[in-house]
């Protein structure tokens, strides 16, 4: 399996996506740096059906400036911090590995979190973050959920394991009758 190092500046999610993604940055930093003053974090990213190969593993270094690292995220529950941090990481990987833009926040009952597009068509994006080491099981559950979407669209799933420093990013076809 090929392993490649990729780099991304976290602040760039605000420019690469059209949803006001800057609001996600402080949450993402909190989860990526943990209890340290780090200004970068390295994640292992598994790509499933994204790009040319059916499965590829890459190493991703996400960095941010010290000045924004001091900004505190708003006071919300811990699970919300994790969820919004995962949205931030998802913005990085969909841009870097699939050339997609996060275009819109999805509605209630859509069975995914965001709409992403390639300039021509829009697809679903379901995102989940966890502090545990259950990302494969969680990924499977999220794929099932995405496939229940009422629009019948294909879509992507991003699961971020902050404790294990790992990400699964997959493309999934809609399955009629799921």
């Amino acid at each position: 399996m090929e392993i490649t190092l990729d780099e991304y500046r976290l602040e760039d999610i605000a420019f690469d996506h059209r949803i006001g993604a800057a609001v996600l940055v402080p949450f993402t930093i909190v989860r990526l740096r943990g209890n340290t003053d780090a200004t970068e974090a390295t994640l292992t990213v598994s790509l499933l059906n994204v790009g040319d190969a059916s499965e590829t593993q890459r190493t991703l270094r996400i960095s941010w400036s010290a000045s924004i690292a001091s900004a505190q995220p708003l006071a919300v529950q811990e699970r919300t911090v994790t969820e919004w941090a995962a949205y931030g990481v998802a913005c990085v990987v969909v841009s870097l590995y699939a050339g997609l833009h996060v275009r819109e926040v999805a509605g209630d009952g859509d069975r995914f979190d965001y709409w992403v597009d390639d300039g021509e068509r829009e697809y679903g994006l379901e995102v989940s973050g966890t502090m545990r080491d259950d990302i494969e099981a969680r990924h499977s559950a999220k794929v099932r959920q995405l496939r229940e979407n009422p629009y019948g669209v294909d879509g992507y799933v991003v699961v971020v394991g902050f404790a294990t420093r790992s990400v699964i990013f997959s493309f999934n076809r809609f399955e009629e009758g799921v």
Binding site: L74, Q77, D108, Y123, G152, R173
Partner: protein, 146 residues
């Protein structure tokens, strides 16, 4: 991605002004979600209401451009935003509008139907609870006076 074309919703022919509105309403929804997490319900509701109005407009633009699937996405999202803003009446009306569309896909029709049904049930529960609370507080106020 495999050779087979991915199945998505078309956004062909949409202009910069449309994209700016999409961005604005997504920004509003994100902020509203964050405000709700902070239990700032009134501020969240105001943002959901603003987003709902934009969603409706986007839906009509898509319909006019023949992007029917995308118009359904925005119409259903408008209903969801109105519900989150607390306007059940209008949210249900938008769902009912969708349900009379002959070309609404079955799966989405089922989802919209269930959503509207849930809103109707919740509306009844909410009003019943409101009346109980009002009666309770009036009894307590009257006892305090005596």
């Amino acid at each position: 991605m495999s050779q087979q074309l991915a199945r998505g919703i078309s956004r062909k022919g949409l202009d910069v002004a449309f994209e700016a509105d999409e961005e604005r309403k997504s920004n509003l929804i994100l902020k509203a979600q964050l405000l709700r997490e902070q239990e700032m319900e009134d501020e969240a509701a105001a943002k959901f209401a603003q987003a709902a109005m934009i969603e409706e407009r986007l839906s009509y633009i898509c319909e006019a451009k023949g992007l029917i699937e995308k118009s359904f996405v925005h119409r259903f999202s408008a209903a969801s935003c109105w519900a989150q803003a607390g306007n059940f009446y209008y949210a249900i009306a938008l769902c009912d509008d969708l349900l009379v569309c002959d070309d609404l896909p079955d799966r989405l029709r089922q989802r919209v139907h269930n959503y509207a049904h849930t809103l109707r049930v919740r509306r009844t529960q909410w009003y019943t609870e409101l009346m109980l609370e009002m009666t309770k507080s009036e009894v307590e106020a009257s006892r305090a006076l005596n």
